[in-house]
C-alpha cells in the first residue's frame, strides 16, 4: 500500500470496568472524537462517553402514526369513495372493522422504519471502516481516539505520540496506531 491515512490511536483493555474508567478520563481530557469498542453493550458507557440518547424512537413514532393513518385512509377510500359496496348491511365506513388492519400497518411501518433508522444511524452497511481488531467481537475492549475530520475549537489537538502516552496512562494494556482500512 502506497500511503496509509492515519485514523487514530487505539488502546486495549481486558475488562469493562477498566474501559469505563478510561473512557471517562478521555472525555475529561477533551478529545474531539473517540469511540469505545466492546463485544457486548456495556452499561454506563453511553454516559461515560457523553452520548445523547438515540433519536430512533421519534422515527418509530412518526412512522407508526403514518402507518395507522395510511391504513385508515386506504380502507376508507376503497370502501367509501372508490367502490362503496354493501356488505351485509354494514355502513360503508364501518371503522371498527378497520381497526385490525390499522393496528398491523402501524406496527409494520414503525418496525421497518426503526430498522431503516438503525441502518442510517450506524452507517450500515459499513464497507469503509474495518474492525480495529478481531478480538473485539470476542472478549476484548478497546478505546480509540480518532483523528478529527474537521478540527473544532475548544478541543484538544490530535497528536499521535501524546495520545499514545495518554491511553497508556489511563490503563490501556496495548496501544496501537490505526490506519484507515476498508473491509474489501
Amino acid at each position: 500500500m502506497a500511503e496509509q491515512k492515519l485514523a487514530g490511536v487505539v488502546g486495549f483493555f481486558n475488562d469493562p470496568d477498566a474501559l469505563l474508567d478510561a473512557t471517562r478520563k478521555v472525555k475529561e481530557a477533551h478529545y474531539q472524537s473517540f469511540d469505545a469498542f466492546t463485544p457486548y453493550p456495556v452499561h454506563g458507557l453511553d454516559d461515560a462517553m457523553g452520548l445523547k440518547r438515540s433519536p430512533i424512537p421519534y422515527v418509530t413514532f412518526f412512522a407508526g402514526m403514518t402507518g395507522c393513518l395510511f391504513a385508515f385512509g386506504l380502507q376508507y377510500w376503497t370502501s367509501v369513495i372508490d367502490w362503496p359496496l354493501n356488505v351485509s348491511g354494514k355502513p360503508f365506513n364501518s371503522w371498527p372493522a378497520f381497526v385490525p388492519v390499522m393496528f398491523e400497518l402501524t406496527i409494520l411501518f414503525a418496525g421497518l422504519a426503526t430498522f431503516g433508522a438503525l441502518m442510517v444511524a450506524c452507517g450500515f452497511p459499513n464497507t469503509k471502516k474495518k474492525i480495529v481488531d478481531p478480538s473485539i467481537t470476542c472478549d476484548r475492549f478497546a478505546l480509540m481516539v480518532d483523528v478529527a475530520k474537521k478540527e473544532k475549537p475548544g478541543y484538544k489537538k490530535f497528536n499521535t505520540s501524546e495520545v499514545e502516552a495518554f491511553l497508556k496512562s489511563v490503563g490501556a494494556t496495548d496501544v496501537r496506531v490505526v490506519y484507515e482500512e476498508g473491509w474489501f
Binding site: D17, Y40, I56, T78, T114, L118, C122, F124, I131
Partner: protein, 465 residues
C-alpha cells in the same frame, strides 16, 4: 450513575461451567465451523435426511393437489376447512413462543431468555413460513393468491373486503413474519461479526462480513442498537398478542356455534404460547444434547419453560371448561348441541385426545422432579404438540360437520394427501431449522456476554463509579 443499576441485579447463575467470553465464541461456533462431519454433529445428517424425506413427501402431495385441484383433499360441504386450516393455526401458534421469549421476556428483564431467544426466534420465522403455505395452497391456485389477497389497483376495479377477518389475517400474519424477521436479523448482526472475525476461510469471511453489515462493536453503534432493540421488543409484544387474536377472529366473527365466542382471542393466544413453548422444549432438549450447550441451556432454563407450559396449559384447560359452561348458561340450543357433540359426538376421540394431552398430562409439572427431568419434559412436550394440533382440528371440524341444516351433515376425514402435506410441513420446518443451526450462531453470544458481566461486577463489589 448508570452503573448503580448493575448492582441491583441479584446474582443468578445463568451460564454454568465457569465459561469465559472466548469460550462462548468457541462453543457456539463449533456447529458452524466444522463441516461436513464433526464428531458431535454427526447426527445432524441423519436428522437432515429425514427432514428432506418428509419435505419431499409434502412436496409431492402438494404438487398433486395443485395439478388436480383441492378436490383431492377430504373437504366437503359443510366441512370447507379441514387439515389445511388446522395446520395453519397450529404453525402460527408454534411461532408465538419465539416472540414471547424474544420480546415479552426482554421487556420483563428476564435475563434467562438470552440462552434460548435466538433459536426460539428462528423457530418463529420457520413456523410462520410453514403456516403461510396452507392458506396459499387452500386457494387452489397459489400463484393467484397475491392478486386475490392484497389490495392493489386492478383492471376489475375491485378492492378486497376490509370487513372480513380473513383479510385481517393476511395483514396480521404477513406483518408478523416481516417484523419477526427484522427483529431476528438485528439481533444477529453482532454475532455475525463474531463469526466473521474468527473465520479463516475466505468465502466464509466474505459471507459473514456481508451479513454483519461491517459491524465493528463501536459503542456509538451499540447506543443506537440497544434503543432499536428495545423498540422492536415493544412493537413485537402487542403484535404477537394481536396475531393469534386475529387468527381467532377467523372463527369468532362467524356465526357458527362453537366458533362464535368472545373467549377466543385470549384462549387462542394462551394456546399458542402453550404449544410454542412445548416446541421450544422439544427442540432445545435435542439441541443442547447434540451441540453440547448444557452449560448455556441449563436445567434451570428448561424448568422455567416448563412452568410456562404448566401455566398456559391450565389457561387452555380453563377455556375448555368456560366454553362448556357458557354453552349451557347461554340457553342456546345450537350452542349446547355443538359442545355436547364436540365431546360425545362422532369426533369424541379427538376431543379427549386434546383434553388429556393439554389439560391433564402437563399437570405432572407440579412436581419439581418432573419439571427438571429431561426425558419427562421431552415426552410431555410431544404430547402437548399432539394435543394442540388436535385442539385446532376439534374446533374446526366438530363445529363445521354439524351445521344448522341436518340434511347437510356429513363427516370430514382427511385424505392421505392431507396427511402427506401435514407430514411434509414438519419436513419443511425442520429442514429450515437444521440449516439454521449449521449456518447461524444458535445462541445470542453478545447477549450472553452481557448477562455474564452482571455477575462479575457483583462479585468485584462494584469498585468503579
Amino acid at each position: 450513575m448508570a452503573d448503580s443499576e448493575i448492582l441491583k441485579y441479584e446474582p443468578e447463575e445463568l451460564i454454568t461451567g465457569g465459561k469465559t467470553f472466548a469460550d462462548i465464541n468457541d462453543d457456539v461456533s463449533i456447529p458452524l465451523e466444522t463441516f461436513p462431519t464433526p464428531k458431535n454433529v454427526r447426527n445432524w445428517w441423519c436428522c437432515f435426511a429425514f427432514a428432506l424425506f418428509a419435505l419431499t413427501i409434502g412436496a409431492i402431495c402438494l404438487g398433486y393437489t395443485v395439478a388436480t385441484g383441492i378436490g383431492v383433499w377430504g373437504l366437503n360441504e359443510p366441512s370447507g376447512w379441514g387439515a389445511d386450516i388446522t395446520n395453519f393455526v397450529f404453525w402460527v401458534g408454534i411461532g408465538h413462543a419465539g416472540t414471547l421469549i424474544s420480546a415479552i421476556l426482554f421487556l420483563f428483564r428476564q435475563k434467562w431468555r438470552t440462552a434460548i431467544n435466538r433459536s426460539a426466534e428462528a423457530m418463529t420465522i420457520f413456523a410462520v413460513m410453514t403456516a403461510l403455505l396452507f392458506p396459499l395452497f387452500h386457494t387452489g391456485r397459489p400463484w393467484y393468491a397475491a392478486f386475490w389477497l392484497l389490495p392493489y389497483p386492478n383492471e376489475r376495479q375491485l378492492w378486497v373486503n376490509f370487513r372480513s377477518p380473513l383479510l385481517w389475517d393476511v395483514f396480521a400474519v404477513s406483518t408478523y413474519f416481516t417484523i419477526s424477521l427484522v427483529f431476528w436479523y438485528v439481533g444477529l448482526i453482532p454475532d455475525f461479526g463474531s463469526i466473521r472475525d474468527r473465520a479463516k476461510n475466505k468465502i466464509r469471511k466474505f459471507v459473514y462480513t456481508i451479513l454483519s453489515m461491517g459491524w465493528r462493536g463501536s459503542n456509538k453503534n451499540w447506543s443506537h442498537y440497544e434503543v432499536a432493540y428495545l423498540l422492536f421488543a415493544g412493537l413485537s409484544t402487542p403484535l404477537v398478542l394481536s396475531v393469534h387474536s386475529v387468527v381467532s377472529f377467523d372463527f369468532a366473527v362467524s356465526v357458527i356455534p362453537g366458533w362464535h365466542t368472545t373467549i377466543f382471542p385470549p384462549y387462542f393466544v394462551a394456546g399458542a404460547i402453550f404449544s410454542g413453548f412445548a416446541m421450544v422444549v422439544t427442540l432445545l432438549v435435542i439441541m443442547r444434547e447434540v451441540f453440547g450447550f448444557k452449560n448455556y441451556i441449563t436445567i434451570n432454563h428448561l424448568e422455567k419453560m416448563n412452568k410456562v407450559i404448566l401455566a398456559t396449559g391450565m389457561m387452555v384447560g380453563y377455556a375448555y371448561a368456560c366454553e362448556f359452561f357458557i354453552a349451557w348458561y347461554s340457553g342456546s340450543a345450537f350452542e349446547t348441541f355443538a359442545f355436547i357433540n364436540r365431546a360425545f359426538g362422532p369426533y369424541w376421540w379427538a376431543y379427549w385426545i386434546m383434553v388429556v394431552c393439554n389439560s391433564f398430562i402437563p399437570q405432572i409439572f407440579w412436581f419439581k422432579k418432573m419439571r427438571t427431568s429431561i426425558p419427562v419434559m421431552f415426552v410431555v412436550s410431544l404430547y402437548v404438540n399432539i394435543g394442540m394440533w388436535f385442539e385446532r382440528f376439534v374446533i374446526i371440524t366438530t363445529s363445521l360437520h354439524r351445521d344448522f341444516l341436518p340434511s347437510s351433515w356429513s363427516m370430514y376425514i382427511p385424505s392421505w394427501i392431507e396427511w402427506g402435506v401435514t407430514f411434509g410441513a414438519f419436513g419443511f420446518f425442520f429442514t429450515f431449522f437444521l440449516l439454521f443451526v449449521r449456518a447461524f450462531p444458535t445462541l445470542a453470544m453478545s447477549e450472553l456476554k452481557g448477562v455474564m458481566t452482571i455477575k462479575k461486577s457483583q462479585s468485584s463489589g462494584g469498585h468503579h463509579g
